[in-house]
């Protein structure tokens, strides 16, 4: 997943990730070390282009990202930047997604008396509509995540891609389409784990990580923080 995400990032882009976002953080560093040296890495504490993320053990919003940074540009300003149409790519997540590009990060059940109170969408409700490109990553791919209809619409639309452990969705013409499935899985598996019918034109396998990418990953993320979410 990390390499797939890194491949989506382009040189010179301004890219933001939030809390609990080790995976995209590592992907951004990977992209910077491979094909996108001029990518601008933005994050909540405000560290612009931190040179290392090795100290970001339990948090992707810690002061270490400022300590190792080129400049200071905090959350407040990153939001403003996105409002001005100058944030190229934002990494966001959510708990439920449906085929129409609706995102739920708020509640399961009734909004005012929820069955499950979720953490909340954080910046999603304003960033998903205003960032130029939005990449959603989610480390769970099951029918409770990719549902027929979300319980609540925290925000909707303007998703570029969704990356899961099984596949890549692309959002076009108002619907999520399956773009590629990861080499280790099958279409049947993706179908089984997705709560809405799969749309696709031509279906391909996602590119395998290159040897160079895997080597570089070991360097920039020796403690495998990118896998933290899979463990929790």
């Amino acid at each position: 997943m990390t390499c797939t995400i890194a491949d989506l990032l382009m040189d010179g882009e301004t890219v933001f990730h939030g809390v609990s976002s080790h995976l995209p953080m590592v992907a951004m560093q990977l992209a910077k070390h491979m094909h996108a040296p001029n990518l601008v890495h933005l994050n909540i504490p405000g560290g612009v282009n931190p040179t290392t993320i090795k100290n970001a053990s339990y948090s992707s919003a810690g002061a270490d990202l400022v300590g190792a940074a080129e400049a200071y540009f905090p959350l407040e300003e990153i939001f403003d930047l996105s409002m001005r149409g100058k944030l190229d790519t934002a990494f966001l997540s959510g708990v439920q997604f449906d085929i129409n590009g609706n995102v739920n990060a708020s509640v399961i059940g009734d909004y005012h008396k929820p069955k499950v109170r979720l953490p909340g969408g954080a910046g999603s409700a304003v960033l998903i509509p205003t960032a130029k490109k939005v990449i959603i990553w989610r480390t769970k791919h099951d029918p409770r995540t990719f549902v027929n209809e979300v319980d609540f619409v925290t925000t909707r639309g303007n998703i570029w891609k969704i990356i899961t452990p099984l596949c890549v969705f692309v959002y076009k013409n108002g619907k999520l389409h399956l773009e590629s499935i990861h080499p280790h899985t099958t279409l049947e598996e993706v179908e089984k784990q997705t709560g809405f019918p799969l749309l696709y034109d031509e279906l391909t396998y996602t590119n395998e990580p290159s040897i160079q990418q895997l080597q570089k990953l070991k360097e920039i993320d020796p403690k495998d923080y990118r896998s933290l979410e899979f463990l929790s």
């Binding site: 809390v19 609990s20 080790h22 909540i44 504490p45 405000g46 560290g47 339990y58 948090s59 992707s60 919003a61 810690g62 002061a63 990202l65 400022v66 300590g67 905090p74 959350l75 407040e76 939001f79 409002m83 995102v103 708020s106 909004y111 005012h112 008396k113 929820p114 069955k115 499950v116 109170r117 953490p119 909340g120 969408g121 954080a122 910046g123 999603s124 409700a125 304003v126 960033l127 998903i128 509509p129 205003t130 609540f152 619409v153 925290t154 925000t155 909707r156 639309g157 303007n158 933290l228 979410e229 463990l231 929790s232």
Partner: protein, 259 residues
């Protein structure tokens, strides 16, 4: 309404938060962009009426805030869900003492339908629809800093999160600080002072006052204490957890309980 500085697990004014719990405060209204242990602890002791926030959760490895969730799901208390940015906008509104702020992006989701602090009006200049968020006026902002002099001139090292904004939005500002430094030292760094003393009502010296969250340049997060707290269920256990900080939380006042 209480505005709490910091973000998720970093530089939370935990000594002050624990003191609120010790004093058995109740029906508090809290506001912040993204909270974790601070909010979860106040919910655990039943101190909260509402929380206004964009995100309430521990980060990845520590999972979800159980006490907060339990309270909200039982219907006892209310969450005023915002996008983090709309909290920022609402505090900017308070900073300029205006009743609302316009904000982009919200028109695509249902938060504006379910919450009366959002409203859509017509822009009188362009006649296009525009979303307004009602300003949030905190009574008190509580902010933990690394350095402060006795006048309240405070310097935050590393990320400031929304703390500076909160110090401008709230009616009263309370600073807890790792270190009280002499005035000539803050003056040497006058252009770096984040909160000038004349805005500050009280300064409390509380070394390690952010533990178990981290404090840049001072200490890392206390992993063990956090995991302990997250595992607690009974009220008595939670009170004991808070008591275990008593000595430390009062150490800055010569171990007298002066605040």
């Amino acid at each position: 309404m209480l505005a709490i500085g910091e973000n998720v697990l970093h530089r939370a004014p935990m000594a002050f938060i624990r003191e609120l719990a010790r004093r058995k405060k109740s029906k508090l209204s809290l506001v912040k962009t993204a909270g974790a242990h601070d909010i979860d602890l106040l919910y655990a002791v039943g101190a909260v009426k509402t929380v206004t926030a964009g995100f309430v959760s521990y980060e990845t490895v520590y999972g979800l805030p159980k006490h907060y969730r339990k309270a909200v799901e039982s219907g006892e208390v209310k969450t005023n869900e915002h996008a983090c940015y709309t909290v920022i906008s609402a505090l900017r509104g308070a900073q300029a003492n205006v009743p609302f702020m316009p904000v982009q992006g919200m028109q695509y989701g249902d938060l504006i339908k379910y919450n009366d602090y959002f409203v859509v009006v017509e822009d009188p200049f362009t006649k296009e629809p525009v979303t307004l968020v009602q300003s949030i006026f905190p009574d008190v902002a509580i902010i933990h800093v690394q350095e402060c002099d006795e006048q309240g001139n405070a310097i935050i090292y590393g990320p400031k999160f929304e703390d500076v904004l909160m110090s401008r939005a709230a009616k009263r500002i309370i600073i807890t600080t790792e270190q009280i430094v002499p005035r000539y030292k803050t003056k040497q760094n006058n252009e770096r002072i984040d909160i000038p003393g004349f805005l500050v009502e009280a300064v409390v010296h509380v070394p390690k006052g952010a533990l178990p969250t981290s404090c840049y340049k001072k200490y890392e997060l206390d992993d063990k204490a956090l995991r302990t707290f997250i595992g607690l269920k009974e009220k008595a256990e939670i009170n004991q957890f808070i008591s275990s900080y008593d000595l430390q939380d009062y150490s800055g006042q010569g171990r007298k309980r002066s605040w």
